[in-house]
Symmetry: C2
Amino acid sequence: MARPPSFTREAVVERAMEVFWREGFHGASIAQLGAAMGLRPGSIYAAFGSKEGLFREALAAYTRQVRARARALQLGPRALLERWFTLHIDRALAEAGGRGCLLLNSVAELPRLDDETVAAVRAELDALERLFHHCVASVRRQTPRPDGPSPTATARLLVAALIGIGVMSRAGAPRRTLRAVAHAALAQV
Amino acid sequence: MARPPSFTREAVVERAMEVFWREGFHGASIAQLGAAMGLRPGSIYAAFGSKEGLFREALAAYTRQVRARARALQLGPRALLERWFTLHIDRALAEAGGRGCLLLNSVAELPRLDDETVAAVRAELDALERLFHHCVASVRRQTPRPDGPSPTATARLLVAALIGIGVMSRAGAPRRTLRAVAHAALAQV
DNA sequence: TTAATTCTTGAGTGTTCGCTCAAAAACAAC
DNA sequence: GTTGTTTTTGAGCGAACACTCAAGAATTAA
């Protein structure tokens, strides 16, 4: 005995994700988000509570998508890492200015986000490091490198390199620069 | 036959640099900057034209300082690189949240800066890459690594790793994580 | 139909932002 | 002094921001 919502949560979160991805958290205004979602401010706040609340759902949807696509590739650990960097570079360079990776872009905006959102971003970042660690450890079992950095250190370098690639691309670095970073980082796996 | 300025440009730029460093470009408001500089908005705009103009001078002052301190250390190429990362990590962790490196923090804010400022940041970043390239090439002349990534690729990885360290520290990464990244990156020099 | 409940609307809140400008103040030259 | 020039002042501009809320619209249960 009540009026049902006129939208499906999943669909509008997807639209919001696109805007956050393209504009960044602070660059995306409620007006922009509302226009993309087809919702007025009041509806957004009724459904998500705050801009940060909406963002957290968008971020969760994003990482869910990325993981699903990675799984769908059906690659071995080494090939998966290489593909990850390649896709990341492609996305960083695509479109004017490039939008890179929503998760990693968000890390750069952390200092001005609320605690709950910081925790969410951190958790996603840890998940990425664990994924990389799993891949590196798997490769090292086949081809040990007793003299090189530990799988943990290498996994962390990979995350740092990904962040660096995204940021450098926004500074206008050409593809060969980004590929050089990826190549140097992957040389350690 | 005119009233002389009541401040020295150098001194107020130094104060502004502190604020930008601590708060970021967008986080620093004119009111905050003015309070730190001891100037009213009108004087700031008369002297620097815009917030971006003030920022460019602050950034230039920052990199000038950093280069001067690096020169003063009188270290060899390898030791200089190691010290650079150590200092970067220390600064990223110092104080609540840490302020990291003004230059690298700025790169993360590039998408919302004007063209002139983007160019200035990019130029400083290129200068950093050249410095690293010089160090790496110098080390490689003594201990060649024909099978590893080129000095250019390694220099670019070092820049990316530095950026990654700064961003990861803002996401709450502990010291050992940052040191792992530094160790893995420097393993390639 | 009626009543109960929930959703949508959009004008409007207060705040903050970068920035401006007319007037006043401070100096130097004469 | 007087005049000419530049700086300082600080109130205030318009725009943008995240967010709110009373009123109306839509739906179901009885």
